[in-house]
């Protein structure tokens, strides 16, 4: 017997209670606190800050806790909160050349001013379990600070190449207008570089990684070199209207990747290196490498290359790389669709009926003949 589906509101409230209980897990174990997440799951926090588009470690950690470790859900929480924040200004461009370096590696030079700085990285760890981490109070290695401070002069590799005229020059457009703002304006096509880089910066890391891999593997003819990857702190400055000069409002951690790519040149231009750029909050090396490959691929059109592969297609890349939008739309399929489905059922049944009738009349006619 059909029972009308009522009580949606009660069911929703009960589901909130259930998910809260599930999130808490075993009540005999101590509850995770937000500071622990911010401090010990730092790379997850960085990813959520990037995809959630707010630099706030504490809120990102809270989002991870509240989302039970679902990083896309956590980014969504940050984004929804972001809508309610007033905007009181824009910072001056941050200068990564003046970054306080924690890590800086170049694949294009054996040595360079400032040297190679490995810093904190999993790169040369063997991926063997460290079973001592099973004990919460295990022995931890201690870090010895170096005798000498790092060189203050750490020029960025593309700047070195640029001085020789071998690197594509990237200058602000004439008039240096305020950049496009994807958080306030709908995407526009053809998309300029400012718009593209913003979308990539908060795009899904997995999606960008897949696209970057496709470019490298054969769906795009890319021959990239890591000019440089750097990680460290830069200061953020704003110019308050009432002061009229820049003041430092704090430091943020950034990862930056500058990918150096070949370019055949054209009739009017000698061959030179072209640049792919990646920048992200926190320690997000995979993200900025993927981003810089995709950034370079998306330059295809303006460099006069054939746009043949998915990663070169700006509408394809930019419309689909936002995981908050993508997961919302994919998951909306679980909402009821029975009205539309009824329409399809009705049509399908009618067509079946018509075909059956047609077959019957033909058979009758044939039998009569």
């Amino acid at each position: 017997m059909y029972v009308a589906v009522k009580g949606g509101e009660k069911a929703i409230l009960a589901s909130h209670d259930l998910i809260a209980q599930t999130r808490r897990g075993d009540p005999l174990l101590p509850e995770l606190d937000v500071a622990q997440i911010a401090s010990q799951l730092g790379i997850a926090v960085d990813r959520v800050m990037n995809e959630g588009s707010i630099y706030d470690r504490e809120l990102a950690a809270l989002a991870i806790k509240q989302a039970q470790g679902d990083l896309i859900e956590a980014a969504f929480l940050l984004r929804a909160y972001r809508t309610t924040l007033p905007r009181f200004g824009a910072s001056l461009p941050v200068d990564t050349a003046r970054m306080l370096i924690r890590r800086r590696v170049s694949a294009t030079y054996k040595d360079l001013p400032g040297g190679q700085v490995l810093g904190p990285t999993y790169d040369y760890t063997h991926r063997l379990f460290d079973f001592s981490l099973m004990d919460s109070e295990g022995e931890r290695g201690s870090v010895q600070p170096a005798q000498e401070a790092l060189d203050e002069n750490m020029p960025r590799v593309p700047d070195i190449l640029g001085a020789e005229g071998l690197m594509e020059r990237e200058l602000p457009p004439p008039g240096d207008e305020a950049p496009f703002d994807i958080t306030r304006q709908p995407l526009e096509f053809p998309a300029e570089r400012d718009e593209r880089l913003q979308v990539l910066a908060r795009g899904d890391e997995g999606y960008l990684l897949g696209l970057a891999y496709s470019v490298q593997r054969g769906f795009g003819h890319s021959h990239p070199f890591v000019g440089e990857i750097r990680l460290g702190e830069v200061s953020v400055e704003i110019v308050p209207e009432e002061l009229g000069f820049a003041i430092d409002i704090g430091d943020i951690t950034l990862s930056e990747c500058q990918m150096v790519n070949q370019f055949a040149g054209s009739k009017d231009q000698p061959p030179q290196f072209t640049r792919g750029y990646g920048l992200a909050f926190g320690h997000a090396e995979r993200k900025v490498m993927a981003m810089s490959l995709v950034d370079r691929a998306l330059k295809a059109d303006e460099l006069g290359e054939d746009v043949r592969y998915p990663a070169q297609d700006a509408e394809f890349v930019l419309y689909h790389c936002d995981n908050v939008e993508a997961s919302g739309f994919v998951e909306h399929l679980k909402l009821p669709h029975y009205v539309d489905f009824q329409g399809e059922l009705e049509l399908l049944r009618r067509m079946h009926r018509e075909i059956a009738e047609r077959v019957m009349t033909t058979e009758k006619r044939e039998a009569a003949e």
């Binding site: 919302g328 998951e331 909306h332 009205v339």
Partner: protein, 304 residues
């Protein structure tokens, strides 16, 4: 169902969640949309605390136009009690503290997904549609740069060809929902996934119709008393769905019916998708075949 005023409104957020500048930006887009019926106006769609694809466009429009005196009705699939409709209604009760209702005629703003109420709407009502895909040509041409040109030049031949191909292949136009319509003789519009049964209601509707696509960042509108013509051919005129039997709860023969599977033997019953319409008719004493049976008493119980 009577008016229910919410006492649990949340004052930590601005009225109706969005800040006033954002609401103004949305209202400007709405004015442009009303001035150019059927044209998709890009707007700075904000991230909302509900998921993209779950009605964020409709929610932003409602937030931009709602006032403290408004009475809000939210439906999904024609029903007031489906979970997402409940969730959106709760959202506005919380962030705007407005009165909500399930009665179509009491509402000043009706936010909907996939249906237009059966009861005719009046000039003092606004119908806000949640739009998953505002671009009627998207399935024919994936690129926005191209579809904008097609709208600009009024090049809708591709759509007519698609409808023709359906007729050639199936003997019918095989589009049953989101059936494309020409607004004010100019722009082809996606009426959102409402069944084509509802398309004729859009034509010369006294109520203002607003469409919000949050994820796709587009707003469009059909002003009151505007022509909305479903695309068709002279020899294959537009037709709506019909059922061979009336609603089994209220006996209505003029409403869109949902099919409910009632046992594992393949038995089905057909009932109004518009729950308010169905309940209203039953309150007036109309009785469908199922309700004539005594077991049917359970059906009317528990209405919130």
């Amino acid at each position: 169902m009577t008016l229910a005023s919410s006492s649990t409104s949340d004052i930590t957020y601005n009225f109706a969640y969005l800040d006033e500048q954002t609401k103004r930006m949305i209202r400007r887009a709405l004015l442009k949309a009303i001035a150019v019926p059927g044209y998709q106006v890009p707007f700075g769609s904000r991230e909302m605390p509900l998921a993209r694809g779950w009605g964020t466009g409709g929610i932003q429009i409602t937030a931009a136009i709602i006032g403290a005196d408004d009475v809000l009705k939210v439906i999904d699939q024609g029903a007031d009690d489906t979970t997402n409709a409940v969730s959106i209604r709760r959202f506005f009760a919380r962030v705007a503290g407005v009165a909500t209702t399930e009665a179509t005629e009491e509402a000043t703003i009706i936010q909907t997904r996939h249906r237009i109420p059966e009861a005719p709407l009046s000039a003092d009502q606004v119908l806000v549609y949640q739009v998953p895909q505002p671009e009627p040509l998207r399935k024919l041409e994936p690129r926005e740069t191209e579809t904008r040109k097609m709208h600009g030049y009024g090049e809708y031949g591709l759509m007519q060809v698609r409808l023709y191909e359906d007729i050639a292949r199936f003997g019918h136009i095989a589009t049953t929902y989101d059936y494309p319509a020409l607004v004010n003789g100019r722009y082809v519009m996606a009426p959102t996934p409402i069944p084509k049964f509802d398309n004729p209601k859009m034509d010369h509707m006294p109520a203002l119709q607003l469409f919000g696509a949050g994820r796709e960042k587009r707003i469009y509108a059909v002003p009151p008393y505007t022509t909305v013509r479903s695309l068709d051919f002279d020899d294959h005129p537009f037709q709506v769905q019909r059922w061979s039997r009336p609603c089994e709860l209220c006996g209505a023969g003029d409403s869109y019916l949902d099919e409910v599977v009632i046992d594992d033997q393949g038995s089905r019953m057909f009932v109004c998708s518009d729950t308010d319409y169905c309940e209203g008719r039953r309150a007036e004493g109309h009785v469908g075949t199922q309700l004539e049976q005594s077991a049917g008493q359970r059906l009317t119980g528990g209405s919130s």
